[in-house]
């Protein structure tokens, strides 16, 4: 199922939640909508689901206009942040809900429904728990039930709103792998919302980064990390030291700090350097090391420029001893954006 979002606008009262959003989602893709809270990512997901309707613009499923079609008519599977399981129904009844509500000849027989529920329980590794109630399950198990309930109707697209937000770190990691596995097994086009960049970069085929109701960049995890198109993306995805300064003639200057900035127009600018892009270099600029400590295979260095701007450097473990007192460093890669 390909999905096209065409210049969608959505306001809540006066607050613009989405502002001329365009997005193309390929068939069978696993896409992350990544952004800080209030960026419009959940609104975009709910607009795709048919739980919100845009003020302007179009939503197309497979080339067909579904802008004002109901969620049921779009055949979406939606997984809510707080699971939204039906508390008074067993796990099996929860999963079967979407099949039970069907009428007439669309409704599968009791045996077919049971079979489908068993399949789905197996898919999310909850076999044998069908008779339990949601309150008798752990958070991770509940989220798996929510996932299989959404998959039961064989949705054209699977939508997940902060699916791992309420879970602790270990469960989150294992469920991430699980979602990837389920996606690969079913091949269903999947879109999930997250504010956790690690989650987005690890799990998704492509990441769409939202800020203030607009999409800043869409690309593979590598692209958004290594070639951020805007200052926001650079600061939001991955770690970065930021410097406010001036660009003149392809050179960025902030106090004693000088960085190459080819192709950036003259004037005020912000420069970003990732911690691992700083390297020891005798021809570079001088910094004072305040603290260097080993972090697994790496050395994390806190330092400051001569005019007091703090910066973080990530070096290999072998270099730990070299970061002492005053050292000279250079940036092997910089991202400079005119303000």
């Amino acid at each position: 199922m390909t999905i096209s979002i065409r210049s969608v606008d959505k306001k809540f009262g006066r607050y613009p939640a989405l502002n001329k959003v365009d997005l193309e989602i390929a068939d069978g893709e696993l896409l992350a909508l990544l952004g800080p809270s209030g960026s419009g990512k959940t609104t975009l997901l709910r607009t795709i689901a048919g739980l919100e309707f845009p003020d302007a613009g179009q939503v197309l499923f497979h080339g067909q206009d579904v802008t004002f079609a109901s969620a049921a008519a779009r055949r979406v599977g939606f997984v809510f942040q707080q699971y939204a399981l039906f508390k008074h129904m067993t796990v099996a009844k929860n999963i079967a809900f979407g099949l039970d509500v069907r009428k007439g000849k669309d409704k599968p027989s009791k045996i077919e429904i049971e079979k489908r529920v068993d399949e789905l329980l197996k898919l999310v590794e909850l076999d044998g728990l069908g008779k339990r109630y949601p309150s008798q399950l752990s958070g991770g198990q509940r989220q798996r039930v929510a996932l299989s309930r959404a998959l039961a109707v064989q949705p054209s697209v699977l939508l997940l709103d902060e699916p791992f937000g309420a879970l602790d770190a270990t469960v989150r990691k294992s469920l991430r792998k699980e979602l990837r596995r389920v996606h690969d097994a079913t091949g269903v086009t999947t879109i999930f919302v997250t504010h956790d960049q690690e989650e987005a970069l690890e799990l998704a085929d492509r990441v769409a980064i939202l800020n203030k109701g607009q999409i800043e960049q869409v690309g593979t995890p590598d692209q958004v990390h290594d070639q951020p198109q805007t200052a926001f993306v650079c600061g939001f995805v991955g770690e970065a030291n930021s410097f406010e300064g001036q660009v003149a003639g392809g050179q960025f200057t902030a106090g004693a700090l000088r960085l190459p900035a080819a192709g950036v127009r003259d004037g005020a600018a912000t420069a970003y350097v990732r911690p691992h892009d700083f390297v020891l270099d005798e021809t570079g600029f001088e910094v004072r090391v305040e603290r260097a400590h080993v972090q697994g295979p790496l050395t994390a260095v806190s330092a400051a420029t001569l005019d007091g701007h703090p910066l973080e450097i990530s070096a290999s473990r072998a270099e730990a001893a070299l970061f002492q007192g005053a050292v000279k460093i250079a940036a092997r890669k910089t991202h400079v954006y005119a303000v």
Partner: protein, 284 residues
Amino acid sequence: MSAAPSRSRRATDDPAWAKALVIGVVLVFLALVLIVPLAAVFAEALRRGLDAALVAVNNPDALAAVKLTLLTAAIAVPFNAVFGLCASWAIAKHEFRGKPLLITLIDLPFSVSPVVAGLIYVLIFGMQGWFGEWLVDNDIKVIFAVPGIVLATVFVTFPFVARELIPLMQEQGTSEEEAAISMGASGLYTFWRVTAPNVRWGLMYGVLLSNARAMGEFGAVSVVSGHIRGLTNTMPLHVEILYNEYDFVGAFAVAALLCLLAVVTLVLKTAVEAAQPRTGRGGH
């Protein structure tokens, strides 16, 4: 009084003497204002023996009062259950203009004196009221008749169900309904299969509270009733009449019956509360 550290002690626990004091104050207070008067009602009713009390209850006027009270509750309570469900559904699950005003209006019967509530209906439906002439012409009696009593009771009891359900529904939010609808369930199906089961205990609780008030209401009903024996007297009104006529055994016997109805309500309420955890509440 030992202050020996116990394993079950918590940081918020008070010292033993403070705990004893707090519990003692509550018990003394309850005994003075609740238990002693309640016991007095039953003692007074049974002063001349159980037979005398039964005779007092088992006369046509008293029985008519019991019937009218039950009839009034049987009309007012279902009406308020439906109204309460609609109001809380509208308020908790939808956004619309004037919502705070609606919430305030629902609370109005709590803040208005019941006498005023009764007078409102006299003003509207009474002989000198807005619809008075028209009602007389069409031979419809509202004031000093059963319809007036039901109206006044509905007015006084209508916040109970809504007040119970609004916070509950607001806390539950709309995502379960959204989940159901996204899976193809109709609005009605969603209401019966998802919303109603989630609020059924709150609804029961509200219904019981509203029932207790409906059976016990005095002020508003007194204004619209006309106190016609055997016709428009509810139990609380009948108690007053008997008492004013110095028929103490009769008054206290009917009062004791009213108390028993309240006790039944309380027992049901406790049973509802005890049944709650078994349904797997606290979903997240």
